[in-house]
């Protein structure tokens, strides 16, 4: 029995092999909350010429801060509105919101591609607008310092600092969500140790010592969403992140998701998105403005 546990632990490590993860556990109003901050990518760019990019329904959030007093920043069109991004603000560009961005010449951008999820794997900003802004000079200064060091550990701490400001207005909602999920703790634990393609309602029902029917009914009534749909969301979030953020082939991604055969991945992904994994990835790499000077943007 011990050996099975170990083997699962290894899978879990493979599954969650994001380069940088910060897990924050704390108590809010008497309820224990867990936040996972995954940094897929980060960097600091000086944009010497004006550049324009279009990002279609990105699967992760972007943290943006323009460094220095004279940085001209950027203009962004998101949700039909035009916003000027200045150096005083720290910005969160929310996942799933398509946007156009125009970087002005001379802008120095500190950025990170990230996901901030609670222990139910839902993005903290799931219901938030496409663009969030905070203004906190102390954190701006710390972001610039950390990005200058280039050290992953420092950048993770600085990203966590910015995220703790963005998340503050959402803490009460997160607490309520955690309470709703409290009776499904064994399900969440099983989800944590199972690759998403291998999640089965029947096995989750086993850990709850319930029938699949009873679990599905209880979950839908309490959470307001069918369990199967919840599992599909977890699967799809992870698949899209891996397709856009990992350098692996579609076959590699299928293995990381827990598929025994890449054809199952094609089938499942197309059923959920209408696209093949390769089409999905190609669509996100197809920029007219793709340049070698900005490979980290052009790549996604």
């Amino acid at each position: 029995m011990e050996t099975v546990l170990v083997s699962r632990a290894v899978e879990q490590h493979d599954l969650d092999s994001v380069p940088n993860r910060t897990r924050l556990e704390f108590t809010h109003a008497g309820t224990r909350l867990v936040l996972n901050l995954d940094l897929f990518n980060f960097g600091c760019d000086l944009r010497e010429e004006e550049r324009h990019y279009r990002h279609l329904s990105p699967p992760f959030c972007r943290l943006f801060h323009f460094a220095g007093a004279v940085s001209p920043g950027a203009e962004i069109i998101i949700g039909g509105a035009v916003h000027r991004l200045d150096t005083a603000g720290i910005y969160l560009l929310n996942a799933e919101h398509s946007f156009d961005v125009r970087y002005f010449a001379g802008s120095k951008l500190c950025y990170a591609h990230l996901r901030l999820a609670d222990h139910t794997r839902s993005s903290v900003f799931h219901d938030a607008p496409g663009l969030l802004r905070i203004e906190q000079p102390v954190i701006s200064a710390y972001l610039e310092h950390a990005w200058e060091t280039g050290m992953p550990l420092a950048i993770q701490s600085a990203a966590a600092a910015a995220m703790s400001e963005f998340v503050a207005p959402h803490l009460e909602r997160l607490r309520e969500r955690s309470e709703l999920f409290s009776r499904f703790a064994p399900v969440l634990a099983a989800i944590d140790r199972t690759p998403p393609a291998r999640l089965r309602v029947s096995e989750l029902a086993d850990v709850m010592q319930m029938t699949p029917f009873a679990l599905s009914k209880s979950f839908r009534r309490k959470i307001g969403m069918p369990l199967k749909e919840y599992l599909n969301t977890i699967y799809l979030d992870r698949a899209r992140e891996l397709l856009t953020c990992s350098g692996g082939t579609v076959e590699d991604v299928a293995v990381l998701l827990g598929h025994s055969d890449v054809h199952y991945f094609y089938h499942a992904f197309r059923r959920l998105t209408g696209l093949s994994p390769g089409e999905y990835r190609a669509e996100r790499m197809n920029f007219g403005t793709k340049t070698d000077e900005s490979p980290e943007i052009a790549r996604i």
Copy 2:
């Protein structure tokens, strides 16, 4: 089998029920590192009168920062040397180093009691001096901001920010240690899910599919420390933290450690320290200067 997993997960949660934990996972020079930052206690005190305290072999580290430009700070005697703590510095008072501290009247102190350990559960500062100092105005400003908010999430992020500076010179040593332990990954995973009083060499040998003798020999040769001694250290670190940081009774601590009977706790703790759990705790509460005005210091 699934049910056993869930039951262990619950134990793990009880075992690690520290109020605030930040887990940082990142890659350093190609090696994946994990750091766990546990905050047992934190606060911000204005000391209106000069105060003197003696701390005997504290089981956790202290993060100290004196806020404001006019704060007179403190004087500390540690390892036979006298140091002045000023407002420009951020200080780490290392665990296990006894010290005397004199807070000058008018000092505003942001503090946290913490432990920073790698995935082998060893303190990052195990071999470091009793007093460490960094000077980084950007982080000082962020610490003061976070402590003013009083929000656990902000304070965790700020403590992680300070720790990422303190830990930078130790990263290469942590990487080497991680490499040394790499062949014992299943042992570390088993330790993570087992309350420390229930750790047995025979069960760890099972997860490695080795005999207890072969595991002990391999561990000692690779790590340079007997496995049994390593397990005792993990047990004792946790026992001492719980005795000094939790408000629970000695019986509560025994349960959290995984003892089936409090008498086993008395026996094991006395064998390892020469003191009973109650004597250990009482010794750390016995300050001549104990006052109600500084309960958080006087308590420990």
